[in-house]
């Protein structure tokens, strides 16, 4: 056994129970990791036991034996299973129980989160699908290469036409026109929202393509205006604040 010599004297004092303060703390910390010094401490206690023999001789009076036997008779011996335990004996069990409860709580929370994430993913997928459908609709309606066909009575020559789709709550407007007459370069068509009361409101300036088709999507509009009708006029290229007569196309809501 190789005892750390620097602790040799302190080990002897510790065995005698007289080491105090920082020296004791330092030694106890060392003993936690040094089996040799723990072994030496046990040896030193053995030396102390030998020291006790130096005073051996006196024997306790007979009454001491009787006193002990009486006390023993009045106090049932504990079985191993009911051995008194210090509170800290239960610490590992309490810690294990706490850990188990903690794990269950975490697991439940995790399950809740998983469900929430799954729900959000589902919502997100639905919203993405709806958004894609809306985009597809708008794309089809507004595509410059779309074939736009207006069906009329047979043998009727093509007529200029416009279709306005307006949602008041969202102030959203889609306008599709076909068979429009070409305009001089300094002129453009202007769409008007004619409210139930008040002056017509500009709803977008546009020029038709070579086939006479045009679209206006979500022009800036005041919120929540009740529309009575929509109309088209020919205006200067930059648009006008109020319509210039005549009205080329007009339609009222159904």
């Amino acid at each position: 056994m190789s005892v750390h010599e620097q602790f040799g004297e302190d080990l002897a004092l510790h065995a005698l129970g007289v080491l105090q303060g920082g020296e004791r703390a330092t030694l106890e910390k060392h003993l936690e990791t040094c089996a040799d010094c723990r072994g030496e401490l046990e040896q030193l206690r053995g030396d102390m036991a030998l020291m006790a023999l130096s005073v051996a001789g006196p024997v306790p009076p007979g009454r001491a034996r009787q006193r002990l036997m009486d006390a023993v008779a009045h106090e049932p011996r504990r079985t191993a299973s009911s051995t008194q335990r210090s509170w800290w004996t239960f610490v590992p069990w309490v810690a294990a129980a706490a850990l188990t409860v903690g794990l269950v709580v975490v697991w439940l929370q995790n399950s809740d989160l998983q469900r929430e994430i799954a729900g959000l993913r589902n919502d997100s997928a639905q919203q993405s699908a709806e958004l894609q459908r809306a985009r597809d609709v708008v794309s089809t309606l507004t595509a410059t290469d779309a074939m736009r066909v207006t069906l009329v009575a047979a043998k009727t020559p093509p007529q200029p036409q416009g279709k306005a789709i307006y949602v008041r709550d969202r102030s959203s407007l889609i306008f599709l026109a076909s068979n429009l007459q070409p305009l001089p370069p300094e002129k453009a068509y202007e769409l008007w929202l004619i409210p139930t009361s008040g002056a017509p409101i500009p709803a977008g300036v546009f020029k038709p393509d070579a086939r006479g088709s045009a679209t206006v999507v979500d022009p800036p509009l005041p919120a929540g205006v009740q529309a009575k009708a929509f109309a088209i006029t020919a205006e200067p290229e930059g648009g006008s604040a109020s319509p210039t007569m005549p009205i080329l196309l007009i339609g009222a809501g159904e």
Partner: protein, 156 residues
């Protein structure tokens, strides 16, 4: 319990009496230690030493606690004692006693004094140094080498 008492009570009582200098107080220590052992036999772990030396060490600790009017400082479950003999038999104990006394008798007086003050009076090395006027380091060395001397007597 009666058998254990008959075998080891003299060791416990004599060391308690030497420390406390009072038969009544020594009997109290005796009673306390054997009752503790009765209530909780698991206190002593036979795989880690013999009962006799263990009882001697515990008796000394408890007696010093009583002498200094302090709460028990040593948790007796933690005390492991490694020594032979077991001190159980009268003849064995008598031989061991003779050896120890011989060893103490052959020690230089200051060394024996330091060891006895630490062991029987429970004085710290600082207190012994203050009482004897000897340097602290010297007292520490004397205590340790005194215990090692006893060990050598039995190792021989």
């Amino acid at each position: 319990m009666a058998a254990l008492y008959d075998r080891y009570s003299a060791v416990v009582y004599s060391v308690a009496l030497r420390v406390l200098g009072d038969t009544g107080a020594a009997e109290d220590v005796l009673q306390e230690i054997f009752m503790q052992l009765w209530r909780n036999p698991g206190l002593f772990d036979s795989s880690r030493g013999s009962l006799g030396p263990w009882l001697a060490v515990i008796a000394r600790h408890r007696a010093i606690d009583g002498l200094r009017k302090r709460r028990p400082e040593t948790d007796i479950e933690d005390v492991v004692v490694s020594v032979e003999p077991d001190m159980a038999g009268d003849a064995e104990r008598a031989r061991a006693m003779e050896k120890v006394r011989g060893a103490l008798g052959s020690m230089p007086s200051p060394q024996r004094q330091a060891l006895e003050m630490a062991y029987f009076d429970g004085l710290s090395h600082s207190e012994i140094s203050a009482k004897t006027g000897e340097p602290l380091g010297t007292i520490k060395t004397r205590i340790r080498s005194g215990l090692l001397t006893l060990r050598k007597v039995f190792a021989a």
